[in-house]
């Protein structure tokens, strides 16, 4: 029986962790922009339903709500009946089309309407292959999001995460909605702590493939890897400086786990922290001047910060006896981290200036938070019904979406930067 189970798992590991995001909106009195996304003319002929992808992207942000639709077929050239659409409760409308091109690609076009003013807010067109239809939909969602909220959209960004199925570990790169996952690394040994380079071309991570934790830098497009830190003892917790030139890592080469800076091309590390305690989980502030990290120098793990050049240390968390895994919002104002409250490990968000912090989940084993590059969402790992999965949440915790894999455990998410446009 056990043997059978193993066979089954061995057969499954190579299947992409096909994942699906389910949107679970909780909370009341939300101010969400009502928007209608009409079915794109011609999308029935292709696999990807563009309008549905755009709508679920926008709803996942927590800032939009899809409305009912007016019957009839529209595209980017149509002039919508403003009154009829407004009666459905919509303030904005997206219309468009998908047309097959002679070379096998598809022409995707759209237009965004402000229904209250009757104004054309613009549109774009993309000529894409079948494989890039989803990416075109994500770019449409980015356009709509930026026009209507003023913030950058993050729907065309990518996320990295790790799955464990049986004894197989995979590092995946997926679209921000969890679809289109591709394996960057497969290993029989654990992989933890993936970290995107600021330009998005590389990932640093910890791999145990040589039966100890070693930090690699991995070029995603080519699969080329280089050893960044393989010193005596353990090497872990890589974090990129915003300029991409330096990484902070935790090394135990001099005895305890301490913070070091190391050139992204490798070389001799420079010791940053000097304590006889555990110092780990470094992360740079967006301006690169400060490093947030975890230390047990006060007797329990708490979050501290210091200048990126080293020096004196300031404690940030004072509530609870276990505060770990800090990550800073892109505007540098908020800190997301995991805090143990009555035995439950919960994602918290702190306003750094005031020190005020709130739990934004009611789960009990949250891990590894990471901000979306526009600072509006956080992705983290959590356990539901005894199985690890990924969740995105708004910063107020009101809108959550769950990313569950087809099999095994999903963990260690890291949200990639905005794509170069």
């Amino acid at each position: 029986m056990r043997l059978c189970a193993l066979c089954l798992l061995a057969g499954l590991w190579s299947v992409p962790a096909a994942a699906q995001l389910r949107i679970e909106v909780s909370g009341v009195g939300l101010t969400q922009l009502p928007i209608a996304i009409a079915p794109f003319r011609g999308q029935d002929t292709v696999l990807e339903k563009i309008s549905r992808i755009v709508q679920s992207d926008l709803e996942r942000s927590g800032q939009f709500r899809g409305t009912d639709l007016v019957a009839g077929s529209l595209d980017e050239l149509s002039r919508p009946e403003l009154t009829a659409w407004r009666q459905k409760g919509a303030d904005s409308l997206v219309v468009g089309s998908v047309t097959a091109l002679a070379d096998g690609r598809f022409d995707v076009r759209f237009r965004l309407w402000d229904l209250t003013r009757g104004q054309d807010l613009g549109g774009q067109s993309y000529a894409v292959t079948q494989a890039d239809l989803r990416q075109a939909a994500h770019r449409i969602a980015d356009f709509v999001y930026e026009k209507l909220t003023g913030d950058k959209g993050i729907f065309s960004t990518r996320i990295a995460y790790v799955t464990k199925v049986g004894q197989r570990y995979n590092l995946w790169i997926a679209d921000a909605d969890g679809e289109n996952a591709r394996s960057a690394l497969a290993s029989p040994e654990p992989i933890i702590s993936p970290a995107w380079s600021p330009m998005g071309g590389q990932l640093a991570y910890v791999s145990f493939e040589s039966r100890k934790p070693v930090v690699y830098v991995h070029e995603i497009a080519t699969g080329k890897r280089r050893l960044l830190a393989n010193f005596r003892g353990s090497n872990s917790a890589p974090a990129w400086s915003p300029d991409g030139r330096t990484l902070a890592v935790t090394l135990s080469r001099d005895g305890g786990s301490q913070l070091y800076l190391i050139d992204a091309q490798g070389g001799e590390p420079r010791r940053l922290s000097q304590s006889s305690s555990i110092d780990t989980e470094p992360v740079f502030s967006p301006d690169g001047n400060t490093i947030y990290f975890v230390s047990d120098r006060g007797g329990s793990p708490q979050i501290y910060r210091m200048a990126a050049t080293g020096g004196s240390v300031q404690r940030l968390t004072f509530t609870g006896s276990y505060n770990i895994s800090p990550t800073v919002s892109p505007d540098g104002k908020s800190l997301a981290y995991i805090s143990r409250v009555n035995g439950a490990f919960r994602l918290h968000v702190m306003d750094i200036a005031s020190g005020n912090a709130v739990a934004i989940t009611d789960t009990s084993s949250d891990e590894s938070p990471s901000f979306a590059p526009n600072g509006r969402l956080i992705i983290y790992a959590t356990s539901a019904q005894g199985r690890e999965s990924l969740t995105t949440t708004t910063l107020d915790g009101r809108v959550k979406t769950r990313l569950a894999g087809a099999s095994g455990e999903i963990r260690e998410p890291d949200w990639g930067p905005l794509q170069n446009q």
Partner: protein, 190 residues
Amino acid sequence: MKRLVLTLTCALMLAGCGSSVKLDEVAVEDKAGTPVGALGAGSGGAGAAGASTGAAGAGAMASQGVAPVDVTRPGSNAAIQQGPRIVYFDYDSFVIKPEFQALIETHARYLRSEAGRKAVIEGHTDDTGGREYNLALGQKRAEAVRRAMALLGVADAQVEAVSYGKEKPAVQGNDEAAMAQNRRAEIVYR
């Protein structure tokens, strides 16, 4: 469990597995050949015993010209690997309890007598809390065992302390009994 699976696989494949080549120790680095006659040494492990009972007729296969090769280092090495080599820790603790002192002394004595031999101390934690913080906790446990060995005269170059954090639990489950078995440092000869 792993050994049982190996044994079953052996039995299924029946491809000469019945000879006394020890499947779980083929990755040892020493290239010194071992005479066939010496292979019985250290075959007291459950895995080896299971393998030979699993495949009846092993003797007949050996006589058909299979010369078993074991690249395991000769001498007391096999014995030390099969003896106790795990130090268990209390919750949130890095203190070596008195009952593990003798175990550490045994390994220290062995390493002192075999100056060319190297060991890795792998620190582990239970699955409570974050992965990176647990990696640092496991490192503290491994360092505690490494320092104890150094005090007993083992050369620094012979022992490396590393951590697996919570990534490789010895047993699954999050009741206290399971977690107690996962809070450990393993002395591993590579």
